[in-house]
């Protein structure tokens, strides 16, 4: 039982993640959706810890649970999304939604099938191997890799962030004209 413990924890966390992900899209209130999303993010972060990728788990929490959720909550509060102000969706929109969702599902299924095919030997060797001794996710190694192999991508990220910042400023300035303000 003890040997299987990581497996059980994984299935528990996966269940939580999927359950709250469903809650995100079924919740009536947008704020509730946001908060369910936080729980989903936490479950995923815990799964990263299980894979010994602590840095990734922490980043998941800082960026998603901390920053992006605050942004989402602010946006929801800003836009004043209520049940009565929800725009009516036309049939065309619904049709487009179905197509996009279906394509995404197809893509995921294909990726999953491929990965299962590749990982056949691993999948058979349940209980899952938790790489306790590997240092793949440790921050020191990440830092070294950042200097050895990924110096250029690291700098490229700053340009990406720069473009995101310019985009944010442009968007924000444009919205300011259209929306009335009250605080």
């Amino acid at each position: 039982m003890i040997a299987n413990l990581p497996n059980y924890i994984f299935f528990f966390l996966a269940f939580i993640a999927i359950f709250f992900a469903i809650m995100v899209i079924t919740a009536k209130n947008p704020i509730h959706s946001c908060l369910y999303l936080v729980l989903t993010m936490f479950a995923i972060a815990a799964n990263y810890v299980l894979l010994n990728a602590q840095f990734l788990a922490i980043v998941q929490m800082i960026v998603y649970a901390g920053a992006i959720m605050v942004l989402f909550l602010f946006t929801v509060m800003l836009l004043n999304l209520n049940a009565d102000s929800e725009p009516v969706k036309s049939n065309l929109m619904k049709f487009a939604g179905v197509i996009v969702g279906g394509t995404l599902l197809l893509l995921f299924t294909a990726a999953l099938r491929k990965s299962i095919g590749d990982a056949e030997p691993v999948m058979n060797s349940i209980p899952m191997q938790i790489p306790n001794h590997s240092n793949v996710g440790l921050i020191q190694n990440l830092g070294w890799v950042l200097f050895k192999d990924y110096v250029f991508p690291f700098e490229a990220i700053s340009i990406l962030i720069l473009s995101a910042m310019i985009g944010a400023v442009v968007l924000g300035k444009k919205e300011k004209v259209q929306l009335s303000t009250n605080d």
Binding site: I31, V38, G66, A67, M69, V70, L73, I139
Partner: protein, 358 residues
């Protein structure tokens, strides 16, 4: 010589002799839980009476002086008062989120206790990314505030929560940059490594000018992050009655209040660990004799002494500076602290590489 880690080891050995390994783990978890809960309660009591006494002293008045010797039992009496007050939920509130928010606030401040080294070899979780863990967990605390403010169905609460959110997230950046400067100097995110790197002097002494700037930025940032005056816009009494917890009463309010004070303790403990050496006694370079004398003072006393000194500083701020407006607050962060923090990080890096620190 007694020390907390000896007692912990002794308890561990005693349990190991009398019970099987699984039970030892369970007992230790229970003991840890009880210890943390009592620390929580005691901190709340001490910090509230400390705040009132310090503010009285700053304003040349007596402060609470009726309950107990010199009024020291005042916060215990306040706790009883809050316990017998009715905790009501307003009609229009989102009942579930309204009641959930205090739990979240308490759990977040509990979780922040994990990587703090209270004494030599005495911490709950010797995490190899301790500093990062603290930034991650504390970034979640803003969600409990937004939740409380939004669920209350009160305009004051909502505005307080939004201001508080904007403020906390903004100052997180400066706090992060200040923490990073120490990480650059030590090359580790582990709290124990950071403390041990200060065995020949605390960073505030070893690091000269750039570390002083980091320290000041860190102090300003944590004052803002814990929503304390002069950055207490979130609950500016004269504008928003009580900010995000306007609608909370009784024990639910008390829990928010407690979480706020415990957060002050935690951020000060982090500050003490990073800049003032945590439990590390006051050491000067290679003065072996002097260092040895300093080692006689227990490490837990050093830790709590430094932490309470920082808490005192933060209380001092409250009675010294007038409250900022929200535009001034955001200006201070985005136009001054953030660029200064970034440039300072470069300075610290240059210093670390050139080994200009002692």
């Amino acid at each position: 010589m007694w020390s907390i880690s000896n007692i912990a080891n002794w308890v561990n050995e005693w349990l190991g002799k009398n019970f099987s390994a699984a039970w030892v783990t369970v007992f230790e978890m229970v003991i840890a839980g009880i210890l943390v809960i009592s620390l929580f309660a005691v901190l709340g009591l001490i910090l509230v009476i400390m705040e009132r006494k310090v503010s009285a002293w700053m304003q040349i008045r007596l402060g609470p002086n009726r309950v107990g010797p010199k009024g020291l039992l005042q916060s215990a009496a306040d706790t009883v008062k809050l316990l017998v007050k009715e905790a009501m939920t307003p009609n229009g509130a989102d009942k579930f989120l309204f009641n959930l928010a205090p739990y979240l606030a308490i759990v977040v401040s509990m979780l922040l206790m994990a990587p703090i080294a209270f004494a030599k070899d005495f911490m709950l979780w010797d995490l190899n990314i301790g500093v990062l863990y603290v930034s991650a967990i504390s970034s979640v605390s803003v969600i409990s505030i937004l939740m409380a403010g939004w669920a209350s169905n009160n305009k004051y609460s909502l505005m307080g929560a939004m201001r508080s959110g904007a403020q906390i997230v903004s100052y997180e950046l400066s706090a992060g940059l200040a923490i990073l400067s120490i990480v650059v100097l030590t090359g580790s995110l582990n709290m124990n490594d950071i403390i041990r790197s200060q065995a020949d002097g605390w960073w505030i002494f070893k690091g000269h000018f750039p570390v002083w700037i980091s320290f000041i930025i860190f102090l300003i940032a944590i004052t803002a992050e814990t929503n304390r005056a002069p950055f207490d816009l979130a609950e500016a009494e004269s504008e928003l009655t009580a900010g995000f917890h306007t609608e909370y009463s009784g024990m639910k309010f008390a829990l928010f209040f407690l979480a706020e004070y415990v957060n002050v303790f935690i951020v000060c403990a982090i500050g003490a660990t990073l800049f003032l050496g945590g439990w590390m006694p006051f050491h000067i370079g290679h003065w072996e004799g002097f260092n040895h004398i300093m080692d006689f003072i227990p490490s837990s006393l050093w830790f709590f002494g430094k932490t309470f000194f920082l808490i005192f500083l933060i209380m001092w701020f409250r009675w010294t500076f007038p409250r900022l407006r929200i535009d001034q607050l955001l200006n201070l962060e985005w136009k001054y602290l953030l660029p200064i923090g970034m440039i300072n990080l470069l300075l610290v890096t240059a210093m670390a590489i050139l080994k200009w620190h002692f």
